[in-house]
């Protein structure tokens, strides 16, 4: 109902909140703030609990002995890997979905995983089982990251700059290229001996034990640096989420900002992929949870929530599956399946894309 101009002042007079308390903010009102704080607290509790569980549960050595510390140290590396992966996927997905203005698509579809698979399969195809070993090591880790970055940068500069820039076409070309790479990999895989294939499969599925401790000193600073930049850009991201026209109206060079964001996203995704292997729906899951719990436009509120969701989900399932049920390899598969189910659920909700 539209109020007429005359009765507007009258209603303004009866308003509960005094004029000076009218403030704009990412969280609306006390209730919203309380929900946000509560969710954050619960997530932190889950994270702390599973962190402690992973570190100390069922350590066979006597407490405090050298062996005990050794095992705890190895477990700490797993936790750091989980943290890096959660940070990369959560921030990359939220930023990506903002840049492409769509909350269903994830950066995982852009062919990062297919490229990783193709590299790994190609090495095993060419060099046999030693091929897998040849890809282990810090320089190789960076090389794989660089190849993935190169593909992404090539795509963005080719399809997003210039007169005919169109983000959906860029995405679709990325997806199709990924599919083509995928069929190349499948072809190479069928030429492998079963034992070669077994070795390869272990690398092809996101697996937290793929990450080697020597990568972490490099991976952690890179991930943190990118995360800090995205954090600083958060106000811009808030505006970009309003779409191209509104962002331009508010004074942003939309095309340039989107390319910049996507470049950072590709650093994060290729880092996580080179670290543990391709994961497509972890990011989707964490981002979806962050939107659901946070219910805000503010990326400074969404990013931490997304990271916490990712860390809580990954570490809790790692703890339960690895230390309680002794099925550590299945962690990422399970998380991916859950993410896939959530994706299906979101797909069939009514909405606008």
């Amino acid at each position: 109902m539209l109020k007429t101009a005359q009765d507007a002042p009258a209603q303004r007079g009866t308003q509960q909140t005094p004029q000076q308390s009218r403030r704009s903010g990412p969280l609306t009102g006390r209730r919203h703030r309380r929900v946000y704080a509560l969710v954050t607290a619960v997530l932190i509790l889950i994270s702390l609990g599973s962190t402690a569980g992973i570190l100390f549960y069922n350590n066979p050595m006597p407490v405090g002995s050298d062996g005990w510390w050794l095992i705890a140290g190895m477990r700490r590396d797993s936790l750091l890997t989980i943290a890096v992966v959660a940070l990369c996927h959560a921030m990359a997905t939220i930023a990506f979905q903002t840049a492409v203005n769509n909350r269903i698509i994830t950066p995982g579809i852009m062919g990062f995983g297919s490229l990783y698979t193709a590299i790994q399969t190609g090495f095993v195809y060419l060099f046999g089982i030693t091929g897998v070993v040849m890809l282990v090591g810090v320089p190789q880790f960076f090389l794989q990251m660089a190849v993935m970055m190169l593909l992404a940068t090539g795509l963005y500069t080719w399809l997003l700059s210039g007169k005919f820039s169109n983000i959906h076409i860029m995405l679709l070309v990325g997806v199709v290229l990924g599919g083509t790479l995928g069929s190349l990999s499948t072809f190479m895989q069928r030429m492998l001996t079963p034992s070669e294939f077994d070795v390869l499969t272990a690398r092809l599925f996101g697996n937290l034990s793929n990450a080697r401790a020597e990568y972490l000193p490099y991976a952690i600073p890179i991930a943190l640096a990118v995360a800090v930049v995205l954090w600083l850009w958060a106000p811009k991201l808030n505006v970009i989420a309003l779409g191209k026209d509104n962002a331009t109206n508010l004074g942003l060079n939309h095309k340039r900002e989107v390319i910049k964001i996507l470049l950072l996203v590709s650093i994060l995704v290729s880092l996580a992929t080179a670290l543990v292997g391709p994961m497509m729906f972890l990011g989707f899951l964490t981002a979806a949870l962050a939107y659901q719990f946070g219910d805000t436009y503010s990326h400074r509120h969404l990013f931490p929530l997304g990271f916490l969701c990712g860390y809580a989900v990954l570490s809790a399932s790692y703890f339960v599956l690895r230390h309680v049920w002794d099925a550590g390899g299945a962690v990422t598969v399970i998380v991916e399946l859950v993410g896939g189910l959530v994706f299906l659920f979101f797909l069939l909700r009514k909405g606008r894309l």
Partner: protein, 251 residues
């Protein structure tokens, strides 16, 4: 003043614009009218630098819209397109606060809050400011968008068919509010309208387009004539005196 010099644009196979050269004076409301596909919205979005030009030059208050940094333009022109959907859920006040982004860069000062409150009050959204956009009616939502561009506090406000999907009551209310924005807040409002009678009653100048060209430009009195409107709209139009000024009758 908004001045277009030899502006042209091949928008799609069916719509191509120009070359258009026209000056729109500062102050008041200027309405862009014309048949479908005439290029009204295209011209408006090009002035608002949401769409690039193929050739020519557009200046707003002496600034070239293509070469001046987007940030600076955002303090001179604000532009609102007709379709707005967000992936995020926003309250009215959050939406309007985005209008201050060119100044605040996301860090709202007390001064910004004052502008935001004023824009909200100006469009009678005071009681709705904490409601989410998806809880509002179409007319209320349209006012929230307009409040955002008003909070941007620019001299020039460009609106693409703001009356679309509004019923009679809300359309009239919207036009009255825009009229007040022009008169009380000293904004130059350029607006694409479908209804020639709305344009005649509420605007100071009418710019009629057809086939990508500006065919008429003048005061409502100059445009509201049988021969002019018949030519512009490709259909027989008769202008008859009404209780509040001339009325175009085309059926």
């Amino acid at each position: 003043m908004i001045s277009l010099t030899d502006v042209s644009k091949a928008y799609s196979s069916s719509v191509s614009i120009g070359p258009v050269s026209v000056d729109i004076d500062a102050g008041g409301i200027t309405a862009l009218v014309g048949p479908n596909g005439a290029g009204k919205s295209t011209i408006l979005t090009m002035i608002g630098r949401l769409l690039s030009l193929d050739s020519g030059r557009i200046e707003v208050a002496g600034h070239d819209v293509v070469n001046t940094p987007s940030k600076a333009i955002a303090k001179i022109i604000s532009v609102l397109r007709q379709e707005n959907h967000f992936v995020t859920r926003l309250t009215v006040r959050q939406l309007v606060s985005f209008g201050r982004f060119p100044y605040s860069k996301g860090r709202l000062t007390l001064g910004d809050e004052k502008y935001i409150s004023e824009a909200i009050d100006f469009l009678d959204l005071t009681d709705l400011e904490d409601r989410y956009l998806d809880q509002l009616s179409g007319g209320q939502r349209q006012r929230a968008y307009v409040a955002m561009v008003l909070a941007q506090n620019t001299d020039y406000v460009l609106l693409d068919e703001p009356l679309n999907n509004l019923d009679m009551q809300h359309a009239v209310a919207m036009m009255k509010q825009l009229r007040r924005a022009a008169d009380e807040l000293d904004r130059t409002v350029v607006i694409v309208l479908h209804d020639i009678n709305f344009a005649a009653h509420y605007s100071d100048r009418i710019l009629a387009m057809k086939d990508g060209q500006v065919v008429e430009h003048g005061t409502p009195a100059e445009i509201m004539r049988d021969d002019v409107l018949t030519r512009v709209f490709n259909t027989d139009v008769q202008v008859v005196p009404g209780p509040n000024g001339p009325l175009a009758v085309y059926y």
